[in-house]
C-alpha cells in the first residue's frame, strides 16, 4: 500500500511532473549554490568557489588555485517536500483510490513541496595571483515546484524545469589587480512545464501533462559582464557588480536581464577568517511580477567564519549565517550553513535558508535545506 502510494507520487512528481501556472513565484535563478545561500544568497563580490561564474565572472579572481569538481551534486528541498516524503515513508496516507487522492489534496492545501537537483562538473584555473582565472561549469539543474491550493476546489499548481547549462568565463585583472573585469558566456537548453491540475481534471480522469509530451523547449545563449574592485586595506573590502544579458529561450521562459551590486570584506585572525557580504540584486526589478519593486526582497547579506583555513578559498570547517530576502533560517545558534572540506578533494555542505515565494519579503516563506557534496582536486 505504502509502496503504491509512494510510487504514485513519485510518478506524479518526477515523471509526469504535474504543474500549474504559479502566479506568484520566487525569483528563479540558475546555479545558486549552498555557500551563497547560507550567506543570505550573497556572492556578487564574495563568491570564491566553483559557482562564482553564476554570480559574477569577475569574482573568479577570488579563486587562487586550481579547482575541479568532478562531480558535484547539490540537492535542495523544502520542508513541505521533506514532510511529504516522511509521510510517504510511514504510510500516513494512501493514494490508491480516487477518494484517497482527493482527500490528500484537501489535506495538503497550502503545502509547497519543492525539490531541486543540481549536478555536473566545474573547472577553474587560476593563472595569476592578481586575479586571472579561467572557469567553466557544466551543469544540469532540475526543478520541481508544486503547490496545492484552493480549499474549495483543490488545484495542484506545478512547475517543472530541466536546464542544461554550459558556461565559461574569464576574470582579468587590470594593473596590479585592484580592479578585475570578468566576462562569461553561457549556453542554456531548457525544458519546462507549467500547469494547473484541479479536481475537475481528476474526476474526468484527465491525463497529467508530461514534460516530454507537453513541455516547452528552448535554447539560447548570453553573457555576463562583471567587475570586482578590491581595496588594499586590512579589511580587504571588495565591491562587485554584474550585468547579465537577457537570454531568450524560444518557447521556454527567458532569463531576464539583471543588474546586481555587492560588497564584501574579509578579516583574518589567526586560525579564523571572517567574511561579511551584502548584495543588492535585480536592481532594475526585472524579476518577479509586474509591480514587484520590493527592496527587501532583493537584499541579501551574510557572514562566514572559516576555521583552520586550508587556502584562501576553503577552510576545514566553515560556519555561515545570513539573511535572504528578509529571512534568516532557523538553525542552531543562528547558523544557516556548515561546510566541511578536505581541500577540494571532498567538500560537504549543509545549508538552511528561506526563500520568498510570494510577492514581497515576508509574505510567503518557503524554508529549504540544501545538501552538497563534491569530489575533486
Amino acid at each position: 500500500m505504502l509502496k503504491k502510494g509512494l510510487t504514485f507520487w513519485i510518478v506524479l512528481l518526477l515523471v509526469t511532473t504535474i504543474p500549474g501556472a504559479l502566479k506568484a513565484v520566487e525569483y528563479r535563478r540558475i546555479g545558486q549554490d549552498y555557500r551563497s545561500l547560507a550567506m543570505g544568497n550573497t556572492g556578487i563580490a564574495s563568491a570564491n568557489n566553483s559557482s562564482a561564474l553564476f554570480y559574477n565572472p569577475a569574482a573568479m579572481a577570488n579563486i587562487f588555485t586550481w579547482w575541479v569538481d568532478f562531480p558535484f551534486i547539490q540537492a535542495t528541498y523544502s520542508e513541505d517536500a521533506e514532510a511529504l516524503y516522511k509521510m510517504a515513508q510511514n504510510g500516513s496516507f494512501n493514494l490508491d483510490t480516487q477518494q484517497e487522492q482527493i482527500d490528500f489534496m484537501n489535506d495538503f492545501i497550502g503545502q509547497h513541496p519543492y525539490i531541486k537537483i543540481d549536478a555536473g562538473t566545474n573547472l577553474f584555473i587560476n593563472m595569476d595571483k592578481k586575479g586571472l582565472t579561467l572557469g567553466a561549469n557544466y551543469t544540469y539543474e532540475a526543478t520541481l515546484d508544486i503547490e496545492v491550493r484552493n480549499p474549495s476546489l483543490p488545484e495542484i499548481h506545478s512547475f517543472a524545469r530541466l536546464d542544461h547549462i554550459r558556461q565559461t568565463g574569464v576574470s582579468i585583472p587590470v594593473g596590479l589587480g585592484k580592479l578585475v573585469l570578468g566576462i562569461s558566456y553561457k549556453v542554456i537548453e531548457r525544458k519546462e512545464l507549467d500547469f494547473t491540475y484541479d479536481l475537475n481534471n481528476a474526476l474526468a480522469n484527465d491525463d497529467f501533462p508530461t514534460l516530454d509530451k507537453d513541455g516547452t523547449k528552448g535554447s539560447g545563449s548570453g553573457y555576463d559582464i562583471g567587475f570586482l574592485y578590491r581595496t588594499a586595506s586590512k579589511s580587504r573590502i571588495m565591491i562587485g557588480g554584474v550585468w547579465r544579458k537577457k537570454i531568450d529561450l524560444q518557447d521556454a521562459t527567458a532569463i531576464p536581464e539583471e543588474y546586481a551590486l555587492g560588497t564584501a570584506m574579509i578579516h583574518e585572525f589567526g586560525v579564523f577568517r571572517l567574511v561579511a557580504a551584502m548584495d543588492y540584486r535585480d536592481i532594475t526589478n526585472q524579476l518577479g511580477s509586474e509591480g514587484d519593486k520590493s527592496f527587501n526582497r532583493r537584499l541579501h547579506y551574510g557572514l562566514e567564519l572559516g576555521i583552520l583555513p586550508l587556502s584562501k578559498n576553503t577552510s576545514w570547517l566553515t560556519l555561515r549565517t545570513g539573511y535572504n530576502q528578509g529571512y534568516q533560517a532557523t538553525g542552531y545558534l543562528g547558523l544557516t550553513g556548515v561546510e566541511l572540506a578536505l581541500g577540494h578533494s571532498l567538500i560537504l555542505g549543509y545549508t538552511k535558508y528561506i526563500e520568498e515565494t510570494g510577492e514581497y519579503a515576508g509574505q510567503k516563506p518557503s524554508p529549504r535545506t540544501v545538501v552538497y557534496i563534491s569530489f575533486g582536486f
Binding site: 502566479k23 506568484a24 480516487q98 477518494q99 482527493i102 489534496m105 484537501n106 492545501i109 497550502g110 491550493r149 484552493n150 480549499p151 474549495s152 476546489l153 483543490p154 484541479d198 479536481l199 475537475n200 474526476l203 474526468a204 586595506s233 586590512k234 579589511s235 570584506m265 578579516h267 585572525f269 571572517l274 561579511a276 551584502m278 511580477s289 509586474e290 509591480g291 514587484d292 519593486k293 520590493s294 527587501n296 526582497r297 537584499l299 547579506y301 557572514l303 539573511y323 528578509g326 529571512y327 534568516q328 510570494g358 510577492e359 514581497y360 519579503a361 515576508g362 509574505q363 510567503k364
Partner: protein, 341 residues
C-alpha cells in the same frame, strides 16, 4: 612596512562593529504589506489556503479582476461551509443523486444564505469570463438557494437518500398546507352549510422573491392577481356529505406570479445550466430548475366535490407560457406535483 598592532586591532574592531551593526539594523527587513496587484491576489490566496474565511473575504473583495472575484466567491462559500470538492466528489459517484446531495448542504441560517447569494452573484454577475468550474459552482449555489425555498414550502425531507415532499407518494398537492380548499357557508335555502368558496392563498411573495428576485437588491418581483369574480355552479345529487344541492361556489384564489430577475438564483440557474450542459463532466440536468419550472404547464386540481378546476384561465388569470421568464402558481403547482427529485 611594519604594521602597528594597536592600529590594526582598532581598525579591525571598528570594521567588525560596523559589519555587525549593519547586520543588526537590517535583520528581518521585511515589507509591511502588499504594494502591487499580484501581491494583493497572493494575500487573498494565502488566506484562502489557511481557511481564514472572513479575512480572505476582506482581502479578496478588494480584487477587481475575474480571478479575484472568483476567489472572493470561494471565500464566501467557504465561510458557510460549502466546498465544491465535497459535492463534486460525491457527484462523481453514480450512486448519488445531485438533488439528495444538494439537500444536505442547504443553508440553515440566514447568514449562510446571504453568503451563498453573494458568491453566486460574484460568479454569474461580476466575472466576465467564466469557465466550466464556475458554471458548476453557480449551478450548485443557485440550486441550494432554490432548494432552501422549496424545503420551506414543500417541507422537503430526505429519507434513505430519497427526497420526500408534503405532497407524499403518490404526489397529491392536497396533502400540502398551501393546497386549495373549500370553505363552507351557511345556506338558508338548504338550512345547512354548503360549499361556498374555493380558497387558494397562493404560494407567497417571499417564495418568488427569494428564487426570482434580484440578488443585489432583493427587491420583490411578485405580482398578485386576485380572482374573486369567477364562480362555478355546483350541483350535487345525493352527495354523502351535502345531499342534493345546487349552489354557486366562488373562486377566492390568489395566484402569485413573478418575473424572473436577471440576477436571481433562478435566472443564474438557467444561464449556468445551459452553459454547463454543453461541456460539463457531470450530469446535472436534475438541477436545472428553471427548465422544470418555467414550463408553461397549467395546473388543474379536483377538490371534491367540485369538478376539475384550472386556476389560470383566459377569462381570469392568464395561463402560463413556457420559457417566458415569468413563473406563476399554476406553473409552480404543476412543478411541485412532479418536482422530479
Amino acid at each position: 612596512m611594519r604594521v602597528n598592532p594597536e592600529k590594526l586591532f582598532i581598525h579591525r574592531a571598528i570594521s567588525l562593529i560596523m559589519v555587525f551593526t549593519v547586520c543588526w539594523m537590517l535583520q528581518g527587513c521585511k515589507d509591511t504589506g502588499a504594494t502591487h496587484a499580484m501581491a494583493d491576489l497572493e494575500t487573498c490566496k494565502i488566506l484562502l489556503d489557511k481557511r481564514n474565511w472572513s479575512e480572505a473575504i476582506d482581502a479578496c473583495n478588494d480584487l477587481e479582476d475575474d480571478e479575484g472575484k472568483h476567489l472572493a466567491a470561494i471565500a464566501y462559500m467557504g465561510r458557510s461551509g460549502l466546498t465544491m470538492a465535497t459535492i463534486l466528489t460525491a457527484l462523481s459517484d453514480s450512486s448519488n443523486t445531485p438533488t439528495s446531495l444538494i439537500f444536505e448542504q442547504i443553508p440553515d441560517t440566514e447568514a449562510k444564505r446571504l453568503d451563498f447569494k453573494i458568491a453566486l452573484h460574484k460568479i454569474m454577475g461580476e466575472i466576465q469570463t467564466k469557465d466550466q468550474s464556475m458554471y458548476l459552482e453557480a449551478i450548485l449555489l443557485s440550486s441550494l438557494l432554490i432548494f432552501k425555498e422549496l424545503k420551506t414550502l414543500l417541507g422537503l425531507t430526505l429519507v434513505n437518500g430519497t427526497l420526500g415532499t408534503c405532497a407524499g407518494d403518490p404526489a397529491n398537492i392536497e396533502n400540502c398546507a398551501f393546497a386549495p380548499s373549500i370553505t363552507e357557508v351557511y345556506n338558508a335555502t338548504y338550512d345547512k352549510n354548503v360549499p361556498g368558496k374555493l380558497v387558494f392563498g397562493g404560494l407567497g411573495a417571499s417564495f418568488y422573491q427569494r428564487i426570482g428576485g434580484d440578488l443585489t437588491t432583493d427587491a420583490s418581483v411578485t405580482d398578485t392577481t386576485r380572482d374573486t369574480l369567477s364562480k362555478i355552479t355546483l350541483s350535487l345529487i345525493n352527495d354523502p356529505k351535502y345531499g342534493t344541492v345546487s349552489v354557486d361556489v366562488t373562486y377566492d384564489v390568489t395566484v402569485d406570479s413573478a418575473r424572473i430577475g436577471r440576477s436571481s438564483p433562478l435566472y443564474y440557474n438557467k444561464l449556468a445550466s445551459e452553459a454547463y450542459a454543453t461541456a460539463g463532466t457531470v450530469d446535472l440536468s436534475s438541477l436545472n430548475f428553471y427548465s422544470r419550472m418555467d414550463t408553461g404547464t397549467n395546473f388543474s386540481i379536483v377538490v371534491s366535490p367540485l369538478p376539475s378546476i384550472t386556476f389560470c384561465k383566459n377569462d381570469g388569470i392568464t395561463p402560463p407560457v413556457a420559457s417566458d421568464l415569468i413563473i406563476n402558481d399554476c406553473e409552480m403547482l404543476s412543478f411541485l406535483e412532479n418536482p422530479g427529485f
